[in-house]
């Protein structure tokens, strides 16, 4: 199997996707990273609707029961449609986790949790980009 560039001139995907994400911080960060990686849509040919869920898991619990690390789990489910139409071309989910240390002061732990969530959105966006690259040829 030989590889062909995803962005060959024939099927220019750059700027082809209009992303709609939930109206909260994580949705904002996710959408920004997707637009960084796939281009801000001028005349989009596809709609990608995104929904988000995340949860926390306590890790590395010490003898006196203190949680020293947290995992942040995240799942993005996406629905790909031709721009402003109803026909669903593809839908699916991407999921992963990031983690942060909970051993700092109150401010340090709060910032660490925020940073872990932002990083999670960024890497989930990258996974979604890889999925869109894989769908490339079927999207003309």
């Amino acid at each position: 199997c030989q590889f062909a560039p995803v962005y060959s001139d024939r099927n220019d995907l750059w700027g082809a996707f209009a992303f709609t994400a939930p109206k909260n911080r994580l949705g904002f960060v996710l959408k920004q990273r997707l637009e960084d990686r796939m281009g801000q849509p001028q005349s989009p040919r596809y709609d990608v609707a995104l929904s988000l869920s995340n949860s926390l898991q306590r890790n590395a619990i010490t003898a006196d029961g203190t949680t020293t690390r947290f995992k942040v789990f995240g799942t993005v489910s996406y629905t790909l449609k031709p721009f402003q139409t109803k026909t669903v071309l593809h839908n699916g989910t991407v999921n992963s986790f990031t983690s942060y240390s909970n051993t700092g002061t109150t401010v340090a732990n709060t910032t660490a949790r925020q940073d872990a969530s932002d990083r999670l959105m960024s890497l989930l966006a990258d996974q979604l980009v890889a999925r869109l690259y894989a769908l490339g040829p079927s999207l003309t």
Binding site: Y7, R69, A134
Partner: protein, 687 residues
Amino acid sequence: QEASPDLPATLIADSVTLSRDNTLTASGNVEILYDTTRLRAASVRYDQRTDTLAITGPITVIEGDSTIILADSADLSPSLQTGILRGARVVFDQQLQVAANRLEKVNARYTQMNKIAASSCQVCGPNDVPLWQIRARRLVHDVEEKQLYFDDATFRIFDVPVFYLPRLRLPDPSLKRARGFLTPVVTSTSLLGFGLKLPYFIPIGDHKDLTLTPYISTKTRTLEFRYRQAFRTGRIEINGAVSRDNLTADDMRGYLFANGSFALAGDFNLSFDIETVTEDTYLRNYDYTSKSRLDSRISVTRTRDTDHFEANLIYFESLRNDEVNQTLPSIVGNAQYMKRVRPLGFGTLDLSAEVLSLHRESETDGISGRDVTRTSAAAHWHNTAVFGPGLLARADLALYVDHFDTVQDSNFESSQTRVTPYAAAELRWPVASTGVGGVRHVLEPFAQVVWTQDSTDDVPVEESTSQELDEGNLFAFNRSVGQDQIELGGRATLGLSYTRYDPRGWSIGLTMGRSLRQEDYGQFTRTSGLAGQTTDWLAAFSLKNDNGLSLINRAIFDDSFSVRRSETELRYSGKKFSMSSGYIWLARDAQANREISVSEWIASTDYQINKHWSTSADWRYDSVFERTQNAGLGLKYRNECIEMGLSLSRRFTSSASLEPDTKLDLSVALKGFSTGGRAGQYAHTCN
């Protein structure tokens, strides 16, 4: 509401005989319809003079969409609202069945049944005994209030009388938000002894409710409460408890957690949560939360297409006995605004402004007493162009300005301003191919060069006291956790990501990367993955398929493959069996005040053995100290009329402030009354 009396009842039958003595006899699939009631019977004799229907069975009466009455014979009014049914069996909401030898419909509202046996358990054949039943001399059903009133009731399990109640009131299953007892729980913990929790639910109108749960045990008298209220644009929920026990010197202890969120005008959202407790060990003794620091917060946020605003005010309170509240930042206020614009349609400009202000009660000089306010502004322009054979080239220019106001820390000037310029270039070359059977391969090599100044003045670092590296910040300009520390100097970051999609539902992903710095500025600890002139390798692997399997691992290791950090998550969710397990390894790192390595296994499983029985287990094992942290087992039996749950959990921790604790919970819920919930899929069938 009552149907208007002059509405005629309609009778349909295969054949009708009108005879001289003013009677009408209908036979063959007889149906009588009146308002929302429908009666089916073998034959009906309607005597015009007495205006009554003499009905011979088998009779089925369907009232509205929730009550079905079966009877052998009956004498009813044409409106089917009043009269007597003999050998009746009433089925409420397809769940609760009441057998009575005589059922009298007093009027459209009240139905009275005599010598009844009520149960929601499936009975197969005449000599099969229901798991539980309530026998009573009389049962009155108030259709309007949807309540069932029993007189001289005995509760029987397998037909053995268990207890007697002169009067008993239960909500009929179709009543939503019924006032009454929820599922009682028998609980025993090594700390609080053997006890009972009996929750009582009180609906207040359509938008408010209060649940009071007395918890009486050998060691405590506790009243737990939950109050909920829904508003047109939001809701609030208040949870709390008050206890008298002899575990501590206090004669009364309690906690209050309240939270709420409201939609404000102009797409703004307000949310608040208050967490307070009267004594530090209370929440842990009663297992109300595992938090060791409480945070009360009020936040206003608004997110639109191209901008995001948030403002938070947080008050922290530590419950740990190894830290002093005054030396922790207890009051933290922060506001942040992020805006994305497209200047003249060329590239993208991200503007952001932020204020973070923290306050410590203690007045001592230095880290345990200082108050710091950071005010930051940033402009970050970037543009990406596609050129050549599908290459993606991106250029970035950014300017970060951070101003620090420090109080009570002589090591730092009271106000400092730091200006940090960035420049970066990134090259990506995504390529893809289609293999045998439609397998798609996506390969994307990437390279990035980042430059910033290689020295900066020393500022108080409050946020970036931990360090993380993953695919989410591999390409960030400043890979510190917070904005107070800047990653110095020029560096190159190289890497590769590969994804394989198999149309049969499998996908495999691998991402690897590392950075090479001009010079090692010693900003990062040994196991952070960011240390050294040549950083460690970051590798992330994922394997997923469509029927529920997901394996994710992220590791940081050096060239000799000694692993600094590895976190793995294996999950499987099938129809009958689901499992989620994880392993975490953090190498020892004195700089990150981790004296001993961390190696911890977690596993939790759920298994549906058959239609009724299901088990669950969870387990946490520390393989450095070779000790189980905590473990739990659960067993649940569910059928159409009962739900029983047994759970055993043990916390093995042993330390000054925390004794090992074993907890046993047993809960029994009778299904068929509106508080018991529906049980359709668990109903057992007669074979």
